[in-house]
């Protein structure tokens, strides 16, 4: 029997709580919001998205499935709260959001003039405590700017999802959770760069299709015979 197994058997035999193991994640006082993906929840210290912190979602470019990851969370937007979209890189498309069951009237899209204005809008959205969550796309941000946003998020208890380019992965950040996202044929590959708890090298595979719609396969070369046909005359 290998030594590691003996140790774990011994620990299991002891009364619970007597020995602390490094793998275990600290129990957080505030429980998080479930991400809607059991595999991801299991890897997060709060069993979901942590509240009151920056959550960095790092991806090579927008459109690889990052919104799919947030869909379950956005679906739970309460009345009287906003979801602020601060300078999104493309148009959040209303029919698709409606299809996903996200309340369109609570989505507040803010088109800002420049990066400084976006930062200001982020701080206002966080400070107001009127937001379910804040989604922000900033062209650049330095460490002190990040720290200021983290402080605002902590004070208000509002999570701030910061969508960042790939090179941001090497920059130090006060964010409590940093995820690197990559598209995968059946959904999304999530690498946890930082979490409150022991580091992990595991990669979580998420199937976004379970939450979006199923697509039917068709002959790409053929005419519109096998597909939908919309014609208005």
């Amino acid at each position: 029997m290998p030594a590691a197994n003996i140790v774990s058997t011994l620990i299991e035999a002891m009364p619970p709580g007597l020995v602390w193991t490094g793998r275990r994640m600290a129990a957080s006082s505030a429980s998080g919001w479930s991400t809607g993906f059991a595999a991801l929840d299991a890897e997060l210290p709060d069993r979901g998205w942590p509240r009151g912190t920056i959550i960095e979602l790092i991806a090579a470019r927008p459109g690889i499935g990052e919104l799919g990851l947030l869909q379950p969370m956005l679906r739970q937007t309460p009345r009287k709260r906003w979801v602020s979209w601060i300078s999104p890189p493309m148009l959040p498309y209303a029919p698709a959001l409606a299809e996903a069951g996200i309340p369109l009237s609570r989505m507040m899209v803010v088109d800002t003039r420049d990066n400084a204005a976006s930062l200001w809008a982020c701080r206002q959205a966080l400070g107001s405590r009127a937001c379910h969550t804040v989604l922000a796309w900033l062209s650049r941000i330095d460490t002190s700017g990040l720290r200021r946003l983290q402080l605002a998020a902590e004070t208000s208890g509002t999570p701030l999802f910061l969508f960042r380019p790939e090179h941001a992965a090497v920059q130090a950040s006060p964010a409590a959770l940093r995820l690197q996202l990559e598209a995968n044929p059946d959904g999304l590959r999530v690498r946890i760069l930082k979490r409150r708890g022991p580091p992990t090298a595991d990669v979580v595979h998420l199937n976004l299709n379970a939450h979006t719609h199923a697509v039917d396969r068709a002959d790409p070369a053929g005419p519109a015979a096998s597909g939908h046909y919309t014609r208005c005359v």
């Binding site: 698709a96 009237s105 107001s128 597909g227």
Partner: protein, 444 residues
């Protein structure tokens, strides 16, 4: 004042010990005390100090009136209930003035003109509006008539010339005689001071944005003297905020140099505040880590976009409207800065053309929705694709052929495609013209 008739406006204790008094002509004063140090008075600075004083006074009452060059009149009768009595207001105002570094005298009386005279000739006096209060004016010297009234110097010389030295004795004179000797203004002024005729004033309005500056006596690059000046500016800002019952989380500090562009510091607090110590702490940190390009000549502080302080109401069962208010407040604030067009919600629109199947909507208003199996991201403009060789088609085609009635007709075959990096795209082929491929959205 310059010229041979220049007079001293005030003299400090050391000068008074040498026999120099306010009102002495400069030549007389220099003859009595050749070592005297003279300072020119600066009307611009005086006006600024008066403005600061008026802003401070706005925290007590909205009815504040400037009386150049040195007096601020405030109407407190309407807000006595809030403060209890006049003494409380006087105490708080005196403390606020000390904080601003202003040395003030005060008096209170039932009419503005009487209060003005008493502040000059009997400082500290508080006259209650009882019947017959006008008697306190009788002891004042005739010179008081010149304060804040239209009585000319020559008229006062005329009155003192016939041996009348107090207002009481002036009133004993026959009114017809006074009126005949170009002293009509004296009678009008007395009537206003005693409250027999109304005395309307022009009220001071609080500036909408804050801007203040300090010119340093000697330019410096050291942090401590700069912080000392900052402290004064932040005190003024706090005074302005308190007057408007507002708070701010952001102000801009400009340090102006000679022959260099100004250094700008954005002072951002974590939450809106009126507390100058918060800004001072931030300014200290910012200045400590910055190397200034040149010595600083002028410090300028600017602020705008303040927040009204919300008075929390103590409700036993909590306030159900609080969430709504916070939500509206954020919307207002963002729209105030970016414009109503730039802050919007979304709605679907009954149109088959993807670019027209959505609209901006008023946040918080529900509309009927038309869900569709569509990408979460739509590109504002379809982007041409060089080739689709690398893409794997997963679904499609979906033909969209509509819009002939408004000239923006589309004939497209839409496909769901998988890019080499495994992301899913929404692409279409334009059937109308060149059969080119375009990306129109991402299934983010």
């Amino acid at each position: 004042m310059t010229g041979p008739r220049a007079r001293l406006l005030s003299a400090n204790a050391a000068a008074q010990a040498l026999g120099v008094r306010a009102g002495t002509s400069v030549t007389d004063a220099l003859a009595a005390a050749p070592q005297l140090e003279l300072r020119q008075c600066d009307p611009a600075l005086e006006h600024e100090a008066l403005n600061t004083l008026a802003i401070m006074a706005c925290r007590f009452t909205p009815s504040v009136s400037l009386q150049a060059p040195d007096t601020v009149l405030i109407e407190v009768l309407s807000c006595l209930k809030l403060f209890g009595n006049v003494r409380t207001i006087i105490r708080q105002a005196t403390e606020a003035c000390q904080e601003l570094g202003l040395d003030v005298v005060h008096a209170a009386a039932p009419t503005p003109l009487a209060a003005h005279w008493l502040a000059n000739y009997a400082p500290g006096l508080v006259v209650e509006p009882r019947p017959g209060w006008q008697a306190v004016l009788d002891k004042l010297p005739v010179q008081a008539l010149a304060c804040g009234a239209q009585v000319a110097e020559s008229v006062i010389d005329l009155i003192t010339g016939v041996g009348i030295d107090t207002i009481g004795r002036l009133q004993a004179l026959p009114r017809e005689g006074l009126a005949r000797r170009q002293a009509r203004s004296v009678l009008d002024t007395l009537a206003r001071a005693q409250g027999h005729t109304p005395d309307p004033r022009r009220w001071f309005t609080l500036p909408a944005r804050f801007s203040a500056h300090i010119t340093l006596p000697a330019s410096t690059q050291d942090v401590e003297p700069l912080l000392f000046a900052c402290d004064r500016l932040f005190t003024d800002l706090a005074t302005w905020l308190k007057a408007g019952h507002a708070a701010t989380d952001q102000c801009m500090l400009h340090l102006e140099h000679e022959r260099h562009p100004a250094s700008k510091f954005e002072i951002i607090a974590a939450a809106p505040t009126q507390d100058k110590r918060r800004w001072l702490t931030i300014a200290r940190e910012r200045l400590a880590v910055t190397t200034l390009a040149a010595p600083v000549e002028i410090l300028r502080l600017e602020a705008e976009g303040t927040l009204k302080i919300q008075q929390a109401s103590a409700d036993l069962f909590g306030d159900p409207t609080q969430d709504d208010e916070a939500a509206d407040h954020l919307l207002e604030r963002l729209r105030a800065r970016f414009g109503a067009q730039s802050v919007h919600a979304l709605r679907t629109w009954p149109d088959h053309r993807p670019e027209k199947a959505w609209r901006c909507a008023e946040p918080g208003t529900d509309y009927p929705t038309l869900p569709g199996k569509r990408p979460l991201w739509l590109l504002p403009q379809p982007r041409p694709l060089q080739s689709v060789e690398a893409f794997r088609i997963e679904a499609g085609p979906e033909r969209i052929e509509t819009g002939w009635w408004d000239g923006e007709e589309v004939h497209r075959d839409y496909y769901v495609a998988r890019a080499p990096d495994a992301s899913r795209l929404w692409i279409f082929r334009d059937l109308r013209t060149s059969r080119d491929w375009f990306v129109h959205g991402y299934f983010g």
